[in-house]
Assembly symmetry: C2
Homo-oligomer: 224 residues x 2
C-alpha cells in the first residue's frame, strides 16, 4: 500500500493550484498515459519527447508544453521515466484509484459500455446502473442490479460516484441531469443526441457519434 505514496524521483509536481489547464491538454494526458503503460509493458524504461509525441500523433513541443503545465518530469539525458511518468499522470487525472461511475440507460449502447473491458483496465468501474423501463428494473446486468431512475436520490449517494454516463433515451434528460447533480455527480459523459445545459459546477461532455459521421461526410465529399 505504502508504495503508492513513493515520491516520483526528482519530479517537482505543482501544488494545489495548477493554472488554467486546457481541456485538450487533459485529453492528451490520458493518451500519453495509455502509451506509457504500453511502453512499460514492453520493458521500455525511458523515452524522449520526440518518440512519445510521435506515438501520440502530436508535436514534440506540444507534449513538453502539456507536461510543463504540471511540473518538470523529464531528464535531459534520459528523457522521461516511463513508469514514473505514467504514475504521475494517473495521479493528475485522478485515475490512480478506481473510480465509481454511474450508468443511466441499459439499451444496446448502455449494455455494451457496461461490458467493455477497456474501462476497468483504465480504472473506471460502473458501480450503479439505472433505467426507466420497468421491464429492466430489478434485473441484473453484468452483476449490477438495475435501479429505477426514480430512486436515484436514495441509491446513488451510497456509491459516491462523481462521474456518470448517459446512454438512455432523450425524454426527460434534463431531469436526469439535475438529479445526478443533486446526488454529487460533477462530470457527465453524454451519449444521448441532445444537448442539456449543465447545472452549475457540473461538466457535461457530449459524444455525438452521428455528428462525427456527418463531419466525415463533409470531408469525404470534397476531394483531398
Amino acid at each position: 500500500m505504502g508504495e503508492l505514496d513513493a515520491p516520483d524521483r526528482d519530479a517537482r509536481e505543482d501544488g494545489p493550484s495548477p493554472r488554467r489547464v486546457p481541456l485538450q491538454t487533459v485529453t492528451r494526458l490520458s493518451l500519453y498515459r495509455k502509451i506509457l503503460v504500453e511502453l512499460h509493458h514492453e520493458g521500455v524504461e525511458h523515452v524522449f519527447s520526440h518518440r512519445l509525441a510521435e506515438l501520440a500523433g502530436v508535436h514534440p513541443a506540444q507534449l513538453r508544453r502539456d507536461l510543463s503545465l504540471f511540473g518538470s518530469f523529464g531528464s535531459v539525458s534520459r528523457g522521461y521515466d516511463v513508469f514514473s511518468l505514467s504514475r504521475t499522470i494517473g495521479r493528475l487525472l485522478g485515475t490512480d484509484r478506481v473510480q465509481v461511475v454511474a450508468l443511466v440507460g441499459l439499451g444496446n449502447l448502455g449494455r455494451t459500455l457496461l461490458t467493455y473491458r477497456g474501462f476497468e483496465e483504465r480504472g473506471f468501474h460502473f458501480g450503479v446502473v439505472f433505467d426507466r423501463d420497468p421491464e429492466k428494473v430489478g434485473r441484473v446486468y453484468a452483476g449490477r442490479r438495475c435501479h429505477p431512475v426514480e430512486e436515484m436520490e436514495r441509491v446513488l449517494p451510497e456509491y459516491g460516484a462523481r462521474i456518470a454516463v448517459l446512454a438512455c433515451g432523450p425524454v426527460g434528460l434534463e431531469t436526469v441531469v439535475e438529479r445526478l447533480a443533486r446526488c454529487g455527480v460533477r462530470a457527465i459523459l453524454n451519449f444521448v443526441p441532445r444537448h442539456v445545459a449543465p447545472p452549475p459546477g457540473v461538466h457535461i461532455e457530449d459524444v455525438d457519434i452521428s455528428g462525427k459521421l456527418e463531419m466525415l461526410s463533409f470531408l469525404a465529399r470534397e476531394d483531398r
Copy 2:
C-alpha cells in the same frame, strides 16, 4: 423528386470554393441541422439565431459565423427558415443523400453501431461489414453478410463507400487502414483505442471514450 432541387428562397449559397472551414464548424453544422429537423417536426417554421444557438449550446455569434462561411441564409425580420436551412446544411454536409458506410469489427460495439437507428435516420447506411474472426465470417448480422477483411479489395469497391467505421481489435490496424484507403475510403471514424497515422488524402477521427472519461475524472477531481 423535383422539389429536391428547389432553390432555397433567396439564400446565396457559395460556389465551389468554400474557404477554409474549421472542422469544429462542420461538427456544429450537423448539430444545427439535427435541431432544425426537430423544430421542423414540431411545426416551427422560422427561428432566430439566439434561439437556435441556445438549443445548440453555443454563442449566437458563433452560429451566425458558422453559417456565414457558406453563404447568407437568414432574413432580418424572420430569422432562418427552419426547413430550408436544414436542407441547405444537409447539402453542405453531403447528408442529403444516403451514404454507404463500411464497418470493420463485429464485436459488442460493432454490432451495437450496426443496429443503432440514429445512423439511418441521419442518412448513413452500413452497407458492408467485415471481421477477421472466422467464427463471424459468413454469418449474417442485421441483414449484412460478414466478409473477411482479407477480401476487402474484392468486396468493398462494389459499394463505393467513402466512409468507414473501425470497431475492431487493435492488432494490424495500420493494415486495415491502408486497405480501406486503397479501396477509396476517404474518412474513417476510429473507435479503436490506438492512433494510426492517416494515409495521404484520408482523414481519421479518433473516438477515445476512455480518454473522455479520464478527462472527466480530472474535472470531477477538482471542485468546480
